[in-house]
Amino acid sequence: MSGTIEVKPAPPAPVVKQAVAGVRRRPTRRAAAGRSFGRHWQLYLLMVLPIAYFVIFKYVPISNAVIAFKDYSPIKGPWGSEWVGFRNFELFFQNPVFWTLVKNTFYLAAYTVLASFPIPIILAVALNEIRVGVFKKTVQLVTYAPYFISTVVVVSMTILVLSPQLGFVNDAIGLFGIPKVDFLGNPDYFRHIYVWSDVWQTTGYSAVIYLAALAGIDPALHESARIDGASRVQRIWNVDLPGIMPTAVIILILGVGNIMSIGFEKAFLLQNPLNQSNAEIIATYVYKTGLLNADFSMATAIGLFNSVVNLVLLVVVNFVAKRITGNGLWS
């Protein structure tokens, strides 16, 4: 590319040239590429650094993932290490912890998708029903706020609020004569805590997308429905919900596609030795195997298994969604 820079310091004006020459012939791909390089060399130059970023920090790691099939030795590097085939995967699948991890990850993720999919829609539809005013703005501003708080803080708040000694939740249930519960010390509560604190944090944010979709619905539809005597509920059901369907499908696909890559940070922070049996997920196990036990190959194999399952889920769900609703992530 640097050659082009030397040769063509000033961009020509091909638009004018073409018009004058009156060339009708379809330009070949190669010619189109050449012309684009010549004309936009500055833009290509601009992209060098960002593209290098993606190559180095996204694509090199993908190629580094070969160590999942190797016995990684830090001295020999990812490509120089010995091949071991699928040994790491076999060991992982045979490990008694495998099913626990898959089950925990899947339950947690599925529960998250099921809970955090409908609630923002309900919030957005409800907000859409009331007039623009102070109340609407306040609800939006307040429900949106937790999204900006860090995971560490949300987890800390959860722990404090649920704490048997300090938290108000135990005080509140105490009023009904229920004895104090150590919520985080009991594996049975872990999933609920994880999911509902997540809903608390993200509902306001997710609702914004649906509000945008609702605002894009042709007002004429609402108008004619009103004239036909449709009630508010009927209009929500027959106008609003179909109107936001495409958006909802995309978000659901993305949610299902991410089902296995459920957040490391939060699960890790909420974990403690007492709730471990339900709280250990693939992501946290990868961290522990890889960085704490320094078993790089095994950790990469587990991570790769996770990524592949994820990608397959995404492709399948996208295919199904396209068949059923006609909407998908890609065409």
């Binding site: 590429a33 992209m47 190629s63 009331i130 800390s156 609402h222 004239i227 890889g290 990608l311």
Partner: protein, 316 residues
Amino acid sequence: MSVTLQGFRRTGRRPEESRRTAIEETRTDKIFLVGVKIMLWLALIVVAVPLIYIVANSFSSASAVSAGRVLLWPIEPSIKAYQEAFGDPLIMKGYLNSFIYAIGGTLISVTLTIAIAYPLSRKTLFGRNVVMSALIFTMLFSGGLIPTYLVVQDLGMLNTRWAMVIPSAIGVWQVIIARTFFRSTIPDELYEAATIDGASDLRFLWSIVLPLSKPVIAVIALMYAIFQWNSYFDALIYLKDPGLYPLQIVLRNVLILNTLSGSTTTTNLAQQLEQQQLANVLKYALIVISSLPVLVIYPFVARHFTKGVMVGAVKG
């Protein structure tokens, strides 16, 4: 999923509302509306109560907090916890580090994002679809934690400030938002006019596109800044030196692992109890302090942020 923002943009209210008088609300509709309002009040309370609870506790006395007497209003108001927190060198160091990462990281991220988003927004750029697909692919599939860690290690970034700002420098989502903005607000005619006047691509970007794109630059800058401020995972895996720790790691150590820096190993029982009680309030104060920068700017940026999310939702 093409979402038009017309109507909403113009007036910010649904057009039907101006004609509300045309058809009277029925009884069931009115009841339904009351139900909707009750629901929204509930949502408001559920979100707001924990937030107020934390703030109220942070401003209360240590004994009141430990006795669990605080709910929504400070009991025996005190700012002792804040004095303690601001006096702690570890916390202050974390605060400073977080600012360094947030400001430096945002500068790098925004520059790189624009550098790729603008060219990709140009329809005459050969190969832009290939590049875009390659970017989006990274959203769907990644090598994983360890392979990425190896790259950072090989680059010699482990345990340096660079590890906090470089490996997570560009977000594909932000690229999409910026690209969509450039594509939909910078008309081709403007570019043609500028080229005829002899402007090069870079010149056009610098003197025309960037000044016209302040809103989107602000949005992506805020997104990066807030993510950087809240980021914790990168620090956990890449940093070992406590002097480099951002606030979130310090917070986790104090709040979740309960490792207070309290060096006062006193044998006096009364003093120990007091120390323990103070530790409890300190947790609440720390939560407030660490969220403060974000929450202070939040009401001002929320509107722009919303727009950013919407542009993102329109999808390019």
